[in-house]
C-alpha cells in the first residue's frame, strides 16, 4: 500500500482535459464550491493556442492560508485526457491520488506504485443513463464533479446551489445537471468511502473577496476611469479585456432615456490602426485605450513615438505572453518591460504601471487615464496572462464617489478669451507639462499644428538645434514629474534588520508573499520592495542603496527589470542577483524560496566582495 497524503484545506487538484469538451465550466464549478465553503482557492488555466482537440489543464490550489500563487506539485490528479496521461501521472506527488475513468481497464504499466488509484467508471455511468452523445459528454463532466466533491467532503448542497445559479434562466438544464452530480456522488459514497485523505472543511478564509480575472477587472477599471473610445485588434491573451469592456459598457454606459451609447468601440484592422485611433481620440480629448499583447506592442512602435513626442494621452493595456515573435501565445511572461519602457526609435521613455492582481488591475486601469491626461503621454498598464486570464480571489473593488477625473492641463475657451498665453509646448509652471487645447475650442485662439517633427515652444516647425534640445530636455523633466505622481513602491520590512533585499512586481506577488513567509520561517530575513510603476520613484534607489545585496525576481529570461534599474538608477549591477522564471508557467513560492536559499548558501561558502554603497 502506498502512503496517503492527508491534508485539510491545503492541497492541489489538477484536471487534464481536452479543450472544447465542455470541461471548463464543470471544473470552475468545482473550484467555486470550495470557495463557497469559505476556503480560499487559487486557480490556473493552462491552455493551448487552439479551439478544439488539444490538451488543457485546470489547477485548483486549495489554501486556507490564502496563498494565491501556484504551489508546484499535484496532490490529486484527474487526467481525463488520454493524450497526456503519462505526463499527468508522473506529476503526482508520492502518496497523492489519481482519479480516473475506469470504464476501460488500463494495463498496470499506466499507473505508479507510490500513488493511490481511485477509479470511477464515468463513461459507463454516463452511457447507461444518457442517450444523446452530447449529453453523455457534458453530463459526464458533472458526474466527475459530483464524485470529486464526495471524495473531498465538499458539501453537496453547495454544488446544488451553484448549479441553480449557473443555469438560472435555462431552468430545464438544472434537473439533469443535478441528477448527474448525484450519480457521481452516489457512486463514491457506495464504493469509495474514505478513499481519499484530502478534505475540504468549512472555514472563514474568503470573507468579502471576489473571484475575477484581471482582464475583466481592468475592463471595469476602464469603465470607471471614464474611457469612452476603445480601438483594438484581437490577440491572445488580451482579447477578453476588450470584450469585457464592451460587455460592461452595455450594462453601465447606455443612456437610460435615449438608449444611446456613451462609448465607442471599434475592432481595428490591425494594431497599428488601433493605436492610431487611440491617439486620434486622445488628441481630441476623449479617454481612449487599446488592449494588446507583445506582438501588438511591436507593431505600435512608430505611433508610440509620435504620441510621446507630440504629447498625446493614450492608455495601452499589454497583457503579456511568452515572447519573442509569436512565442508562447497562451503562456505567461513579464517580457515586454523594455519594449514598452523605451518604445519607438529615438530617445523615448514611457510610463508603465505594474498591477499585482485583478484588484490592482482595476485600480490602476482607472488611474491610468488620469496619468495619461495629466502627463499627456502614453501610459502602459502591464498585466500578464496569469493575472489577465485566470480567476483570482481578490479584494473587492471600491470607488470613491467624490473622485473627479484629472483631465490635465487643457486650456478652455474662457481662458483663451481672457488672454491667457498659449504655447503648446511651453512649460508655464515648472512641471514640464504644457497646456494643450482641444480642436474646436475657440474661433481665433489656441489652434495649433500637431506633428511628429521638431518644433518650437509654440508648435511651429523648427529645425533649430536649440529648439529641439529644449523640447527633448523638457520631455525628460516631465518624466521627473511623473515619478512624483505615479504609484509608489510598496516596501515590506523583514522582522529583523537585514542587508538583504528583494525586488519584484506584477503577478510575481502571489508567489512572493508566500515565499517571504517561508524564508522567514527558515530564518532568512529579507526586506521586500514591490515596484508598481516606471519611471521609478526616489524610494526605489533608496531601498537598493540601503541593502548590500538585492535579489530581483522576474518572469523573463533577460532580467529586463534589472536592466531598467541599473540604467535608470545608476546602480552597480554587482549589487543585484536575478531570479528568473520564464518557462511560461506562473512562478511559484517553492522556486523563489529555493533560489534565494541556495544562493545565500553559496555566498556563505564563498563570500562575495562587498559592494560599496
Amino acid at each position: 500500500m502506498p502512503k496517503s497524503i492527508k491534508a485539510t484545506n491545503d492541497f492541489v487538484v489538477k484536471f487534464a482535459n481536452v479543450n472544447g469538451s465542455g470541461s471548463a465550466s464543470a471544473n470552475e464549478m468545482f473550484a467555486r464550491s470550495i470557495m463557497r465553503m469559505g476556503v480560499p482557492i487559487a486557480t490556473r488555466n493552462i491552455f493551448p493556442s487552439n479551439i478544439q482537440g488539444l490538451p488543457t489543464w485546470y489547477e485548483v490550489r486549495v489554501s486556507e492560508q490564502g496563498w494565491r500563487g501556484r504551489r508546484g506539485g499535484v496532490d490529486f490528479m484527474a487526467p481525463m485526457n488520454p493524450q497526456t496521461w503519462d505526463k499527468d501521472v508522473r506529476e503526482i506527488e508520492p502518496g497523492g491520488y489519481l482519479f480516473y475513468d475506469s470504464t476501460k481497464p488500463l494495463p498496470a504499466s499506466k499507473f505508479r506504485d507510490d500513488i493511490n488509484i481511485i477509479g470511477v467508471p464515468l463513461t459507463e455511468i454516463a452511457n447507461s443513463r444518457y442517450e444523446l452523445p452530447r449529453d453523455r459528454q457534458l453530463l459526464k463532466n458533472m458526474i466527475y464533479v459530483g464524485a470529486l466533491a464526495a471524495l473531498l467532503d465538499i458539501e453537496h448542497g453547495v454544488l446544488e446551489t451553484l448549479v441553480g445559479e449557473q443555469y438560472a434562466g435555462k431552468d430545464r438544464l438544472i434537473k439533469p445537471n443535478l441528477e448527474a452530480l448525484g450519480l457521481g456522488r452516489d457512486h463514491v459514497l457506495t464504493h469509495l468511502k474514505d478513499a481519499c485523505g484530502l478534505t475540504v472543511r468549512r472555514a472563514n478564509g474568503v470573507g468579502n473577496q471576489i473571484f475575477i480575472d484581471g482582464n475583466d477587472a481592468a475592463a471595469l477599471g476602464a469603465v470607471y476611469g471614464g474611457a469612452t473610445v476603445a480601438a483594438w485588434y484581437p490577440i491572445t491573451p488580451s482579447t477578453s479585456m476588450a470584450e469585457a469592456f464592451a460587455a460592461h459598457c452595455k450594462k453601465l454606459r447606455v443612456d437610460p432615456q435615449t438608449k444611446a451609447n456613451r462609448f465607442a468601440i471599434i475592432q481595428s484592422e490591425d494594431e497599428l490602426s488601433a493605436i492610431g485611433s487611440v491617439i486620434g481620440a486622445g488628441w481630441n480629448g476623449a479617454r481612449a485605450f487599446t488592449a494588446t499583447s507583445g506582438p501588438g506592442i511591436s507593431l505600435m512602435q512608430e505611433f508610440l513615438g509620435l504620441a510621446y513626442f507630440a504629447e498625446i494621452p493614450a492608455v495601452i493595456f499589454d497583457i503579456q505572453r511568452g515572447g519573442p515573435s509569436t512565442g508562447m501565445p497562451t503562456r505567461t511572461q513579464q517580457s515586454d518591460l523594455l519594449v514598452c519602457a523605451y518604445a519607438s526609435h529615438g530617445d523615448t521613455k514611457h510610463v508603465l504601471l505594474l498591477p499585482e492582481d485583478p484588484t490592482e488591475a482595476f485600480e490602476l486601469a482607472a488611474d491610468a487615464f488620469d496619468f495619461a491626461e495629466r502627463l499627456q503621454t502614453p501610459v502602459f498598464v502591464l498585466l500578464d496572462l496569469d493575472i489577465g486570464m485566470n480567476d483570482w480571489l481578490t479584494r473587492p473593488f471600491t470607488w470613491d464617489d467624490k473622485r473627479v477625473y484629472d483631465r490635465g492641463k487643457v486650456m478652455t475657451a474662457e481662458q483663451l478669451e481672457a488672454g491667457k498665453e498659449f504655447g503648446r509646448y511651453l512649460d508655464v509652471d515648472g512641471d514640464a507639462i504644457p497646456y494643450r487645447t482641444l480642436p474646436g475650442t475657440h474661433p481665433t485662439k489656441g489652434a495649433y499644428f500637431t506633428r511628429g517633427t521638431s518644433r518650437n515652444r509654440y508648435a511651429k516647425y523648427s529645425e533649430e538645434g536649440s529648439d529641439y534640445v529644449d523640447n527633448m530636455q523638457r520631455l525628460l523633466r516631465k518624466l521627473e514629474t511623473a515619478k512624483t505622481i505615479l504609484p509608489q513602491p510598496r516596501i515590506t520590512k523583514a522582522k529583523q534588520p537585514t542587508k538583504l533585499g528583494v525586488i519584484y512586481f506584477g503577478s510575481t506577488s502571489a508567489a512572493m508573499d508566500e515565499a517571504m513567509v517561508a524564508l522567514s520561517d527558515s530564518g532568512i530575513h529579507i526586506d521586500a520592495m514591490r515596484l508598481r510603476a516606471f519611471p521609478f520613484h526616489s524610494d526605489v534607489p533608496e531601498f537598493i542603496n540601503q541593502h548590500d545585496h538585492v535579489f530581483i525576481v522576474e518572469q523573463n529570461r533577460d532580467a529586463q527589470m534589472r536592466t531598467l534599474l541599473v540604467n535608470e538608477c545608476a546602480i552597480d549591477p554587482a549589487r543585484f542577483s536575478s531570479i528568473l522564471h520564464f518557462d511560461g508557467t506562473p512562478i511559484t513560492a517553492r522556486f523563489i524560496k529555493k533560489e534565494i536559499a541556495d544562493r545565500l548558501a553559496a555566498f556563505e561558502a564563498a563570500p562575495r566582495k562587498r559592494v560599496s554603497s
Binding site: N261, G285, P443
Partner: protein, 351 residues
C-alpha cells in the same frame, strides 16, 4: 519649413461671407511647396469651398500623413487644429478623432504615396467603417519629397523624370473607395478649380465617408513627356462625366442647361447637389454601372472625372455605433462613472 508668418493686414474692402469671415480667415501659413505645385491649387480650392460654405474655421480638424500633400494642411485653415501624423496612418487617427467628437468636420489630406502604399489598408478600412469625413488624395503618381520615385498610382509604362519605366500595375484609389463602400466618390484635377470647388463643397456636406481623388501634377518630378500625371497629359485625357453645382438653401442658381440633362440630389442638411450630365449614359447613383464605366474608360487610357458615385442616404460610423448626441470628449464622470453603489452589486456578481 514654415518659417514665414503671413502678414495679418488685409484690404478693408475684402469680401466677407455670411459668418463675417474673409478668404484670409481660411488661409494658413505660406506654402513651402514648389512654385506651380498642383497641391497649392487644391489648398486654394479648399479655402474657397470653406469660405463659400460659411464654415467656422475652428470647427474643422485637418489630419494628414507624411509627404508633400500631407504638409499642405499647414497652408490653409490656420485657425483649425491640424495633425500631421505618421506615414499612411492618418485614417486611423482621423477615425479616433471623429469618435471623440462627432461635431467637427474632419478633413483627411493624403497623397498617393501615403494612401496607395503603406496606407492602403487604413484607407479602405476607414472608408468601410463609414467614418464621416472628407478624404482627399493629392495624387501625382510620384514621390516628390524623396525626389521622383514612382508611386503605386503611376500607370504601367509611365516614364520617370530620370528615364525609367514603371512596370507595375497602378492602384486605382477611386475603384478601391467604391469597393470599400464610400458613399461619395469623385475624381478631379487640381488644374480645374471650377470642377473641384463644388465637389469639395458637396463632399463637406455629405454625412458619410466622402472621397475625392484629385490628380495633382508634380511640377518638379512628374510633369515631363511620357508621364501620365503631367499637366498636359491630364488636360488631354480628362473626360468629365458631369459638372456639379452645389446649392445651399435658397441660393438658387440659374444657368441654362438643356432640359432633362440635370438632376438634383438633396443632402441631409437641405443643400442640393445639382448634377449636369455631360456623358448621358453615366448614372452616379448606380454603383455597379459606374464601376463598369470607370473600368472600361480606364482601359482606354481616359481619366474619368466628376462626381462618380453618390449615395443620397449615407450613414456614418456614429450611426452604426449608436453613440449619444453629445460628443464623447465632453462627457464627465457623472455620465461615465457608474459609482460605488453599482460597484457593490458588481462585486456581488463575482462571489
Amino acid at each position: 519649413m514654415t518659417y514665414l508668418a503671413k502678414p495679418k493686414f488685409r484690404h478693408p474692402g475684402l469680401e466677407v461671407n455670411a459668418r463675417g469671415f474673409t478668404h484670409r480667415d481660411y488661409e494658413g501659413a505660406i506654402s513651402t511647396l514648389c512654385a506651380g505645385c498642383g497641391h497649392d491649387s487644391i489648398s486654394a480650392a479648399l479655402i474657397q469651398a470653406c469660405f463659400e460654405l460659411n464654415i467656422e474655421p475652428h470647427r474643422v480638424a485637418k489630419l494628414s500623413g507624411i509627404g508633400c500633400s500631407s504638409k499642405t494642411p499647414d497652408y490653409f485653415l490656420g485657425q483649425s487644429h491640424g495633425f500631421n501624423s505618421v506615414h499612411g496612418r492618418m485614417p486611423s487617427v482621423l477615425t479616433g478623432a471623429n469618435l471623440a467628437n462627432k461635431e467637427l468636420l474632419y478633413l483627411g489630406i493624403s497623397g498617393d504615396g501615403d494612401s496607395a502604399s503603406i496606407g492602403l489598408g487604413q484607407f479602405v478600412h476607414c472608408i468601410r467603417r463609414g467614418v464621416n469625413m472628407v478624404y482627399i488624395t493629392e495624387n501625382n503618381g510620384v514621390y516628390g519629397l524623396t525626389k521622383g520615385q514612382f508611386s503605386a498610382t503611376a500607370d504601367r509604362g509611365s516614364k520617370s523624370k530620370a528615364g525609367g519605366t514603371n512596370n507595375d500595375s497602378p492602384i486605382d484609389l477611386v475603384g478601391m473607395a467604391l469597393l470599400a463602400g464610400a458613399t461619395f466618390v469623385a475624381r478631379s484635377f487640381s488644374g480645374d478649380k471650377g470642377q473641384l470647388v463644388p465637389l469639395i463643397k458637396a463632399a463637406m456636406t455629405h454625412n458619410g465617408p466622402a472621397f475625392i481623388d484629385v490628380i495633382s501634377p508634380c511640377i518638379a518630378f512628374n510633369n515631363h513627356a511620357g508621364s501620365t500625371k503631367s499637366f498636359d497629359f491630364v488636360r488631354e485625357h480628362n473626360e468629365a462625366v458631369n459638372r456639379v453645382d452645389f446649392i445651399e438653401g435658397r441660393d438658387e442658381i440659374t444657368a441654362d442647361y438643356a432640359p432633362g440633362s440635370s438632376h438634383d440630389v438633396e443632402q441631409h442638411d437641405g443643400s442640393i447637389i445639382r448634377l449636369h450630365k455631360i456623358e448621358p449614359s453615366y448614372d452616379p447613383t448606380d454603383k455597379v454601372s459606374a464601376m463598369d464605366f470607370l473600368q472600361r474608360h480606364h482601359a482606354k487610357g481616359e481619366l474619368v472625372t466628376g462626381l462618380l458615385y453618390l449615395d443620397s442616404h449615407p450613414r456614418d460610423l456614429h450611426d452604426y455605433l449608436g453613440t449619444v448626441d453629445s460628443p464623447l470628449n465632453r462627457l464627465n464622470e457623472k455620465e461615465l462613472c457608474p459609482g460605488s453603489a453599482a460597484l457593490e452589486s458588481i462585486n456581488d456578481e463575482y462571489r
